[in-house]
């Protein structure tokens, strides 16, 4: 059970949240090639290391935000707004 710091509500149990999958995926324009569109639909990073995801505080403020999480140590490296750029985590 992760402890996630909701930017609006503070630290809460993972059970209150919903993971929405990888974040920072650029939605291609209608003119995108079939390959680019397929990549957008289906291809995701699967790092052993820091992964960038969006989470919703479903049983709380219902807001979406970004979480940078290490898939090896389970450490949460950063929590940041949907509009913020991907942080540089060494």
């Amino acid at each position: 059970m992760l402890l996630i710091h909701c930017p609006h509500c503070g630290p809460r149990d993972e059970g209150e949240f919903t993971c929405g999958g990888e974040s920072h995926i650029q939605r291609p324009a209608l003119s995108a090639s079939a390959e680019d569109w397929a990549e957008y639909l289906f291809l995701r990073h699967n790092p052993a290391g820091v992964t960038y995801e969006r989470w919703r505080h479903t049983f709380g403020c219902e807001r979406w935000f970004n979480v940078a999480r290490c898939t090896v140590s389970h450490r949460i490296e950063a929590v940041y707004a949907m509009t913020e750029a991907k942080p540089d985590i060494a």
């Binding site: 059970m1 992760l2 974040s23 209608l30 569109w37 949907m82």
Partner: protein, 901 residues
């Protein structure tokens, strides 16, 4: 009787009555079921899992692998509890598991004769052909454990959350000291102990003084102590799960704790290991420290003529305790070249045969193969283990979370001087895993068949997979594998320890979230009125809704036929309150909906509505509905009843995550509004009859008006799912019943979900998720029209340009008319040639008997269906073949004259 006249932590002034296998016994407060049975001379407790061998009590704590019992009966039965962990209480009823008719004479013991068949991997080897399922039933009956409770659990369970600066797991000497140190630092401390008494090993080693530490902790305000509470899981971010057995009268039976700690201290001690010699599973063969525990804690001397087989120094203390209690004790020490090779005696040990050929008569054979620190929680936390040669055991190495092990759990076991002899020479069944009947020979077979990795060893032999999770067997098993394959135990390694440390009841895990607290049921605001009208209710997407309103002597199917006909001829009332209602507001509301829906919202005028399909990014239809423009910057979006919550969430996700620049707010309003739909040729007159200030003469199909109906403020939309002129009248939910009553008095016939299904099928209106599936695109259901007219992008549009979307052989929605009988939903349309099994050309999605046409009608998704109208196809369903003609899916009022009337 083997109870000693004095000693122990039991209250001899009180008797506790209990039953075991139908016989009455007595013990004392402070006893466990195991100590009380031993005190009464009961040695034979049950039969083993696979071979049905007689088994007794081998331990005094959580590591017990033999003495499993069933408590209670019927709905409150609890199977497979360790007798060593069951506190004795008045009226306790326990029975053996896995034997019939009883442990002394067990008919299934015949499995022993077939035991060469039941060796490692026998499931895989023996029951491959033709199907495992043919063998599963008899095997499970023969090799089962306790019985599952019958009927719903009568007990209550609760969940609780807590956070502490330090959580100490284990209330033995090391845990008490660690808790005291932590408490002095000032933070909040939680001490958790699985036993009903604090003290751990001090409970059976009275020379270790813990009373002052316990008293000090109880006096500290920042310390919380939980006993009878087992921490069974260690998860991410220092969270722990524990289950507390609550003993108070009418309270919950168990409480599941979800704990989080700044720091965790693991003080779970160590578990003694068995020795691997022939017959080491016989009743009367016991871990050496367990005998010490029975004497010192419970005042029970479990044998009088005792042989101790050992390979380490921890048994010195045991021998002196047993001698002091009056037993005669012989020690057989493999470090001096002498081992016990056989335990003799069928239903209870009678003698020990030694490696020098001698036989020592005995009534208790104790064994100590060394000690294993209880590193389960540390391993669950992600910590790594290393093998420590000096104690011949795995100890904590590198922690991955803020956790520390202390005492026995850290490998602090004193001077053991252990020299392991992992397998004693000699022939016979030498058990490694008592719970799952895994022998040394099984491990040799696994090694010879190349299942050498510890993970393969576990799965091939089931080593460590019993209800004791290998507490006594893991190290012996992997050390034996190491010897067979020339590896040190540390190089074999352990399997990952997984929760739960001890079995947990489903009741505790579910807590209060059962029944309607797990899945809440929603009732219509006018539910009582529907019941008065004789409604038969059914659950539809968590709403309890009227299926039909059968009259006296009428089946619900006949009622639905009658109701559907009424809709075509007079005026009916349908309660559409679950219809999803979402208000989309803000300056960019129209732009937002243009991006969400296939249809265009921005060109819609206030007071008008439009049908919209919603797609996933894969182009697949996920919902449909009608959006109404209430004002320039305000829309009311109707979704399907089942989609109400899901679509609002999806809209929020698009707004918050993708189109963060749009100024739009989403207001879900489904339950605020009740919707009474009046439909049929008489609908307009009926609304006039109940009274309205809306000009019904100037109210075309797909228009929207606000005003009053029957005196209630109402939003009225002319939209139709019946094919008749329909008015969806939304009023505040609290007025639902009053409005329904008014229409009822005016003569409207109530119709249920089933009649609506007939009516919409007659009109060829699709039901998302019924007539569509996870592959259906707009063009497949003939709804690509709006797309060509729309310039801008919307969710899923790019996917409609894929080659796959333009395939000519896609499944398309069509009508199907059988040559007589009803078609069945799910029937397959056979490809030309009609072979079964063979390729499918689609399937039936909706099928009803049309009262309007007096014949069965159906819709289905058929390959190239739209270009095959008039063709007769063959259908197949569960062995029956039928023929049907492909037709247009609109069966009634193709021109839509009634709709606009």
């Amino acid at each position: 009787m083997t109870r000693l006249p004095t000693g122990g932590l039991i209250d001899r002034s009180k008797a506790v009555r209990f039953r075991f296998n139908g016989r009455d016994y007595a013990g004392h407060p402070g006893d466990t079921l195991a100590s009380a049975l031993l005190a009464n001379g009961v040695r034979l407790i049950g039969r083993s899992f696979k071979y049905h061998r007689p088994r007794g009590i081998m331990a005094a704590g959580a590591e017990e692998a033999n003495a499993l019992v069933q408590l209670g009966s019927g709905s409150s039965a609890e199977p497979n509890l360790k007798a060593t962990q069951v506190p004795l209480r008045d009226g306790l009823e326990a029975t053996s598991v896995n034997c019939w008719p009883g442990p002394r004479f067990d008919l299934r013991g015949i499995n022993q004769l077939a035991s060469p068949l039941l060796i490692a991997g026998f499931y895989y080897k023996t029951f491959m052909w033709p199907s495992w399922h043919l063998f599963e039933g008899p095997i499970r009956r023969a090799a089962g454990l306790g019985l599952a409770p019958e009927g719903p659990d009568p007990d209550r369970y609760v969940h609780a959350h807590a956070r502490h600066d330090v959580i100490v797991v284990g209330g033995g000497p090391a845990g008490l000291a660690a808790a005291h140190d932590a408490a002095l630092a000032g933070g909040s401390v939680l001490l958790v102990e699985s036993d009903f008494e604090l003290g751990g090993s001090a409970l059976w080693r009275p020379e270790v003084e813990v009373a002052p530490a316990i008293a000090a902790l109880r006096a500290m305000a920042n310390v919380t102590i939980l006993t009878r509470t087992e921490v069974f899981g260690y998860y991410d971010h220092n969270s722990l799960a524990a289950v507390e057995t609550v003993m108070a009268g009418d309270g919950p039976r168990q409480r599941l704790w979800k704990l989080r700690a700044g720091k965790v201290i693991i003080a779970t001690g160590a578990i003694e290991r068995p020795l691997v010699f022939a017959g080491n599973d016989r009743p009367g063969v016991m871990l050496a420290s367990a005998a010490q525990a029975y004497v010192q804690r419970y005042g029970v001397l479990p044998g009088h003529r005792i042989v101790i087989a050992t390979n380490n120094d921890s048994t010195k203390e045991v021998a002196s305790v047993l001698t002091a209690a009056g037993a005669s004790v012989d020690v057989v020490d493999s470090r001096r070249g002498l081992s016990v090779t056989h335990a003799k005696g069928a239903l209870g040990v009678k003698a020990a045969r030694l490696s020098d050929g001698r036989t020592l008569p005995c009534d208790l054979l104790l064994m100590s193969g060394g000690w294993s620190p209880v590193v389960h929680l540390f391993s669950q936390s992600g910590g790594s283990l290393r093998y420590d040669d000096t104690i011949a055991a795995f100890v904590p190495a590198v922690a991955r979370q803020p956790v520390e092990c202390v005492g026995g759990a850290a490998g602090d076991l004193g001077d053991l001087n252990i020299e392991p002899e992992w397998e004693t020479p000699g022939s016979g069944k030498k058990f490694v895993d008592f719970a799952n009947d895994v022998t040394a020979r099984d491990i040799a077979i696994a090694a010879s068949e190349n299942y050498r990795s510890v993970e393969h060893l576990k799965r091939y032999t089931t080593l460590g997979m019993g209800s004791d999770q290998g507490k006594t067997s893991n190290v012996n098993g992997l050390a034996l594998m190491g010897e067979l394959t020339g590896r040190a135990p540390g190089n074999v390694g352990t399997t990952k320890f997984r929760p739960p440390y001890n079995p947990v009841t489903f009741g505790a895990l579910a807590g209060p979230l059962v029944g309607t607290l797990h899945t809440p049921i929603k009732c219509l605001p006018a539910h009582a009125w529907h019941a008065e009208q004789g409604a038969v209710f059914e659950e539809h997407g968590r709403w309890i809704r009227p299926t039909a309103y059968p009259r006296s002597g009428e089946s619900w199917e006949a009622a639905a036929q009658r109701e559907a006909l009424e809709a075509r001829t007079s005026a009916v009332l349908f309660d559409g309150s679950p219809l999803g209602k979402i208000e989309v507001c803000g300056p960019d509301a129209a732009v937002f909906l243009d991006r969400i829906y296939v249809g265009t919202a921005s060109t819609l005028k206030p007071g008008r509505s439009r049908y919209g399909l919603m797609l996933s990014e894969h182009g697949v239809i996920v919902d449909d509905g009608i959006f109404v423009r209430l004002a320039e910057d305000r829309f009311l979006v109707h979704t399907t009843s089942g989609g109400a919550d899901r679509i609002a969430l999806a809209m929020e996700e698009w707004l918050q995550c993708e189109w963060t620049d749009l100024r739009v707010a989403i207001l879900p309003a489904t339950s605020q509004w009740a919707v009474m739909t009046v439909s049929g040729p008489g609908a307009r007159q009926m609304i006039a009859d109940v009274g309205t200030d809306i000009d019904l003469a100037d109210f075309p199909h797909m228009a929207f008006r606000e005003g009053t109906v029957a005196g209630f403020a109402a939003r009225v939309l002319r939209a139709s799912f019946t094919g008749e002129a329909s008015y969806e009248i939304s009023v505040a939910a609290r007025h639902a019943t009053a409005l329904a009553q008014r229409f009822g008095r005016a003569g409207a016939v109530p119709i249920g979900v089933e009649a609506l299904n007939i009516l919409r099928t007659e009109k060829g209106y699709l039901h998302i998720g019924v007539d569509t599936d996870g592959t259906t695109l707009p063009d497949d259901v003939g709804m690509a029209g709006p797309i060509a007219k729309k310039a801008s992008d919307f969710v899923g549009r790019r996917s409609l340009l894929r080659d796959d979307a333009a395939r000519e052989d896609r499944l398309q929605l069509v009508g199907l008319l059988s040559d007589g009988p009803m078609l069945t939903v799910g029937s397959q349309v056979l490809a030309p040639g009609g072979t079964v099994p063979g390729p499918s050309d689609g399937h039936v999605t909706s099928a009803v008997f049309s009262p309007t046409l007096g014949r069965p009608i159906a819709m289905g998704l058929v390959r190239r269906g739209r270009s095959r109208k008039g063709e007769v196809v063959e259908l197949y369903d569960m062995g029956t073949r039928l023929k049907a003609t492909i037709v247009d899916p609109v069966f009634v009022d193709k021109a839509g004259e009634k709709l606009n009337g």
